[in-house]
Subunit: 321 residues, 2 copies
């Protein structure tokens, strides 16, 4: 199985439908701002997870394209507003929405994507009870994403973040949209409540593992592969599981929060983090979360979709960047 | 009938339920930012319109409190984000949310209110088909509010806005949330599709009339009643129906967009706008919209709620400020 080809096959179903589900309406410039990040690409992991979940419970992927599009648009909405808050001016190698359309334009493009996501989700063809379940799930999911972002922003002002707090933040900010995508795929695909719950857990656990592994990659990946300065999380003073483990083990890193740290200082910190076991600790956690997530799929019947989801979970902690 | 007492009676049902529907959760500071404008008060015209619509179709107002709360929270969300975009630092006589919680805090407080509104609406007790109808209506409504705000912002850069463009902007930015409130009240109250449509039209038409009359009041109300400088819309160069009518009649106003205009210049412009018939034109339009809106209620059976709604419509164009 070619994993990325299987993911792309599902992702392209969403690409092929965006023009009918969210055409460039009026005011046209607003709709161009809304479509900008979507049209710039992305791996479509959330739509693919939703579609695969539908297939894994025996549903027809063609029937869930609106829902799959909706989760990608929610993701785009969070990127647009997060880039304003984090003052990130580049996204996917191109200027961020607030750079191109200004602060008001970016706030409104995000806001409109937000309601459009609910509207597009509501166009999915399913019985009313399942639709209410999905729309409610989407609203809870979006609320928790916002709570996670608020918590993450406030971590920057603190140096006493606990592992439990970090885990909850990652669950809300990153993992819940994967969990919701998988669960909605199950609900709309006609899955049982047990299957929907298992797919929710799969998305949640592998999503947390994915994010923790991302923090590990920031430290251990060669810069030419990473495409940015190695150890940038350290220099930004970001609260990661690695930083929290180091602090809990009384390892003091001079480069933490030092934006002008030299290459030598970063390499020195990296050695210390290896010696303290902080990197291994985080990597093991990521592996365990993914392993736990994969186990949740045991209750599903065997299928190609299930195999792809298991492979995708492994990919999240085997990728090099 | 004491109109304001009747409105307050319905509005206070929403006040009494906010603590159970949207308690101060975690992160508590986020929830304080979300509750701030709600707790600061407001006339609760949208919740009252929703509850009255439920009563007018024979439904029980106690059953629609979540929906009535949801439309007020959507209104609060738009105020928070609009104040950022318009750089307004005061709201309801107190510092705006972005003044108290910063840009990121205000963006996130608005975003979270947005999804909470959908979540609270989804908690309304009604059959699934009616719930899907309401959730879909809410998503379309929020999209159009954003489109209206985008259009309004872009009006500032133009001096060729047509009456039709102005009308569409007001419909989206202001009137649609009244229309949606009334229609949701009808749907959840068990009304027929015809009743729901009539209440939608009532909300839409009286909402447009309300906004146009607001622009008239900005010019004709004594400053001690208005609470701000008379003619501020003129000095800000705001595209209103009055300004558009004046331009269409080749009346050139030197004070238009002149932020340091003197009292004499404003008074002079006001005389010219009276002579050109621009003020009368807008006032007549407002009266006509409200009259058209009231007619839509003809299909409803007589009831106290219907009488209150008709009185509320009149109040919108009889109020002095």
């Amino acid at each position: 199985m070619d994993l990325l080809e299987e993911i792309n096959k599902r992702g392209s179903m969403v690409d092929g439908s965006i023009q009918s589900l969210m055409p460039i309406g009026e005011p046209d410039e607003l709709y161009r701002a809304m479509r900008y990040l979507f049209d710039a690409g992305g791996k479509r992991l959330r739509p693919a997870s939703l579609i695969l979940s539908t297939e894994a419970v025996g549903g027809d992927p063609k029937n869930v394209i609106p829902a799959a599009t909706a989760v990608e648009l929610v993701h785009n909405f969070t990127l647009i507003h997060d880039d304003i808050m984090d003052q990130d001016n580049l996204r996917r190698g191109i200027p961020a929405v607030h750079v191109k359309w200004g602060l008001s334009g970016a706030i409104l493009a995000g806001d409109t994507l937000y309601s459009k996501s609910f509207h597009i989700l509501s166009q999915n063809d399913a019985d009313a009870a399942r639709m209410v379940e999905c729309l409610t799930l989407m609203s809870i999911t979006c609320t928790e994403i916002c709570e996670g972002q608020w918590t993450d922003i406030n971590f920057e002002k603190r140096n006493d973040v606990t592992e439990a707090e970090y885990m909850e933040m990652v669950m809300k900010k990153t993992a819940i949209l994967y969990a919701a995508s998988c669960k909605m795929g199950a609900i709309l695909g006609g899955g049982t409540p047990e299957q929907a719950q298992a797919l929710w857990d799969f998305g949640r656990l592998t999503g947390v593992g994915f994010q923790i592994f991302d923090d590990v990659l920031d430290l251990i990946t060669p810069e030419d592969v990473l495409g940015k300065i190695r150890g940038s999380d350290l220099m930004e003073g970001k609260q990661t599981l690695i930083a929290i483990h180091a602090r809990n083990n009384n390892l003091k890193l001079d480069v933490f929060g030092k934006r002008d740290a030299t290459r030598e200082e970063i390499d020195d910190a990296l050695e210390k983090l290896k010696d303290s076991g902080s990197i291994d600790y985080a990597q093991d956690k990521a592996l365990n979360f993914v392993a736990e997530g994969k186990k949740k799929l045991d209750i599903l019947p065997n299928s190609e979709a299930k195999d792809i989801m298991l492979a995708l979970a492994d990919y999240m902690i085997e990728r090099k960047f």
